[in-house]
Each structure stands twice: as C-alpha cells, then as structure tokens.
Symmetry: T
Subunit: 69 residues, 12 copies
C-alpha cells in the first residue's frame, strides 16, 4: 500500500431489502465503470416511506479506489 | 413536491432482531398517530448488551411528513 | 443505575456476513476479557471491497461497562 | 425572557423563488397551528434540479416558540 | 425497554440560578403536557448578559419519552 | 427512484449578484458535461471582499445525479 | 498571498430584507474600524419571528483580514 | 435588535468552585475592557485534576457584544 | 510537560446532586486504579428523569493521564 | 476569480517521509490527469504502523480545480 | 493557572516550506502586537497549488493568551 | 484482516521538533506496553507557546491494535 494514491467518490445505492443491500447495489453499479475499488465508508443511511412502511433504503457511501498507472 | 411543507420528528425504535428492524418498529408505531410520512434518516445506532451479547438494537431516526391542509 | 461509574472502550469488529454481525463479533471478542458490558453505540461503518463486492464489513463501536468495586 | 420555556420544531419549506422564500413558506404554514413563534435557525439548504436548473429550493429550519400557560 | 418506541422533543429552559436549574425548569414545564419522560441530553448551554453579569442561563435539552399504547 | 444509483460531485459556483445565483451558476456550468442531475445540497457559503463590500459570493454545493445504464 | 498572515473575526449582521443583506450589513459596519478585509464565510443563519413572519435575518460570518506591517 | 451588528469573542474562565462560576469569572474579567455584552454560549468545559480531584474548572465561552456607533 | 506521553480514557459518572458532582464521582472512582490524572474534558451531559424530575445526572468525560516510566 | 466554477475531488496520498510529503504525492499523481488545480484542504491524517513505528503517512486532501471552457 | 482568564484569537499563517512552518509564521506575526500567548490549536490546513505543486501552505490556528491585569 | 477485532486507544505525544515527531513519540512510548499496533489517525494538533515561539507540539492520535488470542 506504500506508494499508491487513492481517489474517493461518493455514491447512493438503494434497495427494498435492507440497508446492507443498498451498499452492495451501489458497489455493483460502480463496478461497471470503475476498477480497483478497495474500501467503502457509510456516510448516511436514509429511506423512503410508503404506506407507513420502509419502501426502500438509501445508503450513501464513500468509495476509495487506486489511481492506476 | 413543489408546495409542501414538511415537519420532522425524531424517534427511537428497538428490536431484538436487527438494526433495520428497529427502524421498521419506530415507523410502525408512529403510523398509529401520524399520517403522510415520506422519508427517514438514521441519526444514531445503539444497543443494550446482556450476557455478553446484543440484547436489542436501538436506532434513532428523523422522520419527515407532510403538513396537510 | 444511580451510583455506577462507566468506562467506555472503542472496538472494531469485522464480518463477511453483515454490518450487524460485525457488531456482534466485536462484543463476543471483548467478552473474553471485559465483564459488565451494558451498551454500545455505532461510531463508524466501513468495509473492504474485493473483486467488486463487499469482502467484509468493519463496524467500530463504543462499548460502556460498569467499573466494579 | 426570564421565565419562559421554549419548544423547538424542525420544518422544511420549499419555494421556486429563492432560499429565503422557502424559509418564509415554512413559517407561514406553521403559523396555521402554532402560536408564539420567536426565532428560527437554518439547518440545511437543499433543492431539486429539473432540466439542468433549480426547480425549487428546500430549506430546513428549527423554530422556537413559547410554551404558553 | 425491549419493545418501547421513544419520541424526542427539544426544549430550552431558563433560570437565574444555575445551568442545572435551567434543565429542571424545562422538565417541570414539559411535565404539564407530556407523560412518560425518561431521559434528557444537554444540547446547548447559553445565557443572557445584563450589566456585565449572567442575567439568566438558557439550556437546551433533548427529552425522550415513551409512546404509550 | 427504487432502483437508481446516484453519484455525488462537489462544485463551487460564484456570482456577483447573490448566494442563490452562485448555486445556479454552478449547476448551469456542470450541465455542460453531466446529465441527470436531480438534487443539490449547500455545503458552504463564502465570498470575497473588495473595497469593504462583497465582491462575489462563492457557494459550494454537492450535486447528485443518476448513473445511467 | 505568499507571506501574509490573516486574522479572523466573527460578526453577526441583521437585515429586514434578506439573508444576503445581513452579510452586507455586517461587513459595512466592520469596515468602519477594520482595514484589509479579504473574505468571509457564513457560520450560521438565524432570524427573529414577529407576527408569524420573519422580522429580520441574522447571519453570523467569519471575516479574514490581512495583518498589516 | 433590528439594526445592530454584533462581534463575538472567545474566552476561557476558570474557577475552583464550579463550572457555572468559571463562566461568571470570564464575563467579569472581560467587562473590564468590553462594553455592551449581550449573550454567551458555552463552547467547551474542561478542568485540571490534582491529587485525584478537580483542582479547577475551565469553561470556554463565546460572548456577543454590540458594536457601538 | 515537554517529554510526557498522555493516554486518554472516557468515563461516565453519575450523581443525584448536580452535573458538576457527576464529574467528581467519575474522577474519584477512576482514582482507585489510575495514577497521574491531569485534566478532563466534558464530552456529554445527560440524565435520567423519574416522576417528572431529574433523578440523576450522567456526565461523560475524557480524562488524560501521564504514561509513567 | 469572478466567473469560474470549481470542482472538488478527494484524494489520499502516502509517503514514508512525512505528512506534508503525502500531500505532495497526491497532488503529483493527480496532475497526470487533471489540469487547473488551485488549492487543497487536508481532510484526514492517518498512517500505518509496522514494527512499532510509522511505516507510512496517509493524508486525505480535497483538491479544487477550475472547470475549463 | 487558577485565576487566569484567557482570550482566543484565530490566525492563518502561510509558508512555502511546510505546514509546521506556517504555524510558526502566524505566531511570530501575532507576537508583534499580542503578549502572553500560551498555546495554539490547529483548526485547518490548506494550501495553494501552482504548476501542479504546493505553492504555499496555509494553516489556521486558534491561539490562547492571558488577559493581563 | 477478515477475522480480527481491533481495539482503539487515544494518546497525546509531544515533541520540540515537529508535529510529525510528536506522533512518533506517542507510538514509541505506547510500544513499551502494547503489541500489534496497526494504524493511527490524527485527532488533534496543539502546542505550547513560550517566548513567542512554539515550545513543543502536542499531537493526539487514535491508535488501533489487534486483540490477540
């Protein structure tokens, strides 16, 4: 890890299943265009309510990935 | 959404199952007296420990609902 | 609870299963050396990404326990 | 001001005009049911974007009002 | 505490005596309309100055109470 | 909104007119290269002072936009 | 800007017109005694409510100015 | 209060008596050189420990005073 | 103070008397096992409410002590 | 600076030398793909420990650059 | 330290050498007009970038000094 | 890193040389009693001023180490 430089991006994923699944959705989507993702950090957990119940979870994460040469 | 005014309240739900379920419990309870809930945001996740294990999760959320005419 | 004094420690647990399970792992490990744990509070939720997916969750908690006489 | 007790509520107002106007909308709406409002504090300024422009401003305020006898 | 849901409100009490007394004033006033208060947390401690001395203390607290069935 | 993933970017716009106009300038500029912007949040409001008056406002916003398929 | 040292002060301006005007009022007043003001940053936006409307805006800013030789 | 501009300063007072008294000490000292103090806000409460007991309290406050014409 | 290294711990003391006394209780208890305590900082002030009054104050402090050779 | 719009990115640089050098490494790496960088702000300073000593410093910075026409 | 009252000011120093040197520059400059400085705390570390390298470091510190009789 | 649990402690190191050296001093001292330190994070950078110059730097770090079996 000594000589790497990392860039961070912020994403919001959503899921009708769970807050953890919203994180997984965000990472899966980001993987279509970003290589070298190494870690994430949860920034915010929110959600929409419909008919007096959680309709879907929305979790915002910061993702760090290696700037490749 | 243009002309609505929202009011926010803060609730703590608890659950022996999971942190996500504590959120659902808080919303279900609030639905008995509040109409028009639209979104929530997790403010704090805590819990009680009994016999060296999580006895129940306590999650505090902020809930926004429409002020109706 | 009137006359107790509590001490707090900060721990990070990890799990390949879920964020909630990472909390349980941290508490189970701490129970090997600490008695009287009463509550926890989630301080930070992070994780490692491998092959474009969550490899494991890392959740940092603050744990309060009674200073015994 | 010596012997009053104040209660605070949190509201989000919206406006297509300006961020200041969103504050005024929230206060005007709250005035329909709350008496004795004395001050506000801006908590968050957000907005929706439509067709590459600000569609409306959404400003969240905390409002303090006197608990009357 | 397992199955309760708590609601939080925010109050500011004032006192010419002390900061602790301002907390007690806020709770005493709130008790006229709210049942089941369980805990409080100090959010902010301020005060007014008159003639180069503290005229009264103003302490803002968050109070949690049980939503009764 | 159920299945979208959002990416957030941070921008600073400036304006000699007003703080609101600085937000609009940032969004107008970003629209030249980004599609699908949905919301913004004000992160910081600053400005430069020249000749004892506000020379221009500088407002930093976080903008969320849909990651398209 | 290489060799300057800046000092910061904190001011609250007020205006019946707008939040931006409260910033301008604070800077105009400070200009009577301070030279070399370069930038400001909004720290807090509050206001007083009278007769269910905004009576005046109160905006707190931090101002940086050059320590002259 | 409509047309005033306030300046804020930050002070730390100390007292062997109590945290409230440390606030009073700071205000009494500042009154020797500053006129027009109106309010204070507690920023930090610390203290020194000597021989396993509180030797003195140190409370940092922000004080607002009117800029006079 | 030049060559010392300090370690910090976090404690919560409680008191039926006052918030200041809760700090003193925490330090007195910690003194049974820790030598060389030098300073404290108040992190959080909370309390329990019973019968519509403060039952006891709970104050969390961070305490610094010298790592002895 | 009147009419520019800035974009911010977040980077983590690392160095075995010093925390300042980790900032320089991040900027040097980013310069391979980004033009018009104007300022940075340190967000977080961390590091890895190996054999009871700092193995390398990891400093996260936010960098602002001009969006060119 | 028992009976002193401290005042705090906020300064930004700059240096082409290092972040530590920017702190020293701010203190050296302030020493021309302020007596009795006792401690400082780093509030923010920023810098300007020119030609893809750090042109100078800008470090903001809070400085405490004794209010003399 | 999958199955480890980490504990965090907070330390303040000091140095007459530099802020980076204060970090190294804290880690060297802690190494006398703690095994398995893996990372640190800078929490606060302060210092004492004597004769209008930095007398020594005081840097507070959080250190994470592996709880061994």
């Amino acid at each position: 890890m000594t000589s790497h430089v990392y860039k961070h991006i912020e994403l919001t994923g959503s899921s009708v299943e769970s807050s953890d699944d919203a994180v997984r959705q965000a990472i899966a989507k980001a993987a279509q265009t970003i290589r070298g993702m190494r870690w994430f950090e949860v920034v915010e957990t929110r959600g929409h309510i419909d008919a007096d119940a959680v309709a879907h979870w929305q979790v915002t994460i910061k993702v760090g990935f290696t700037l490749e040469n």
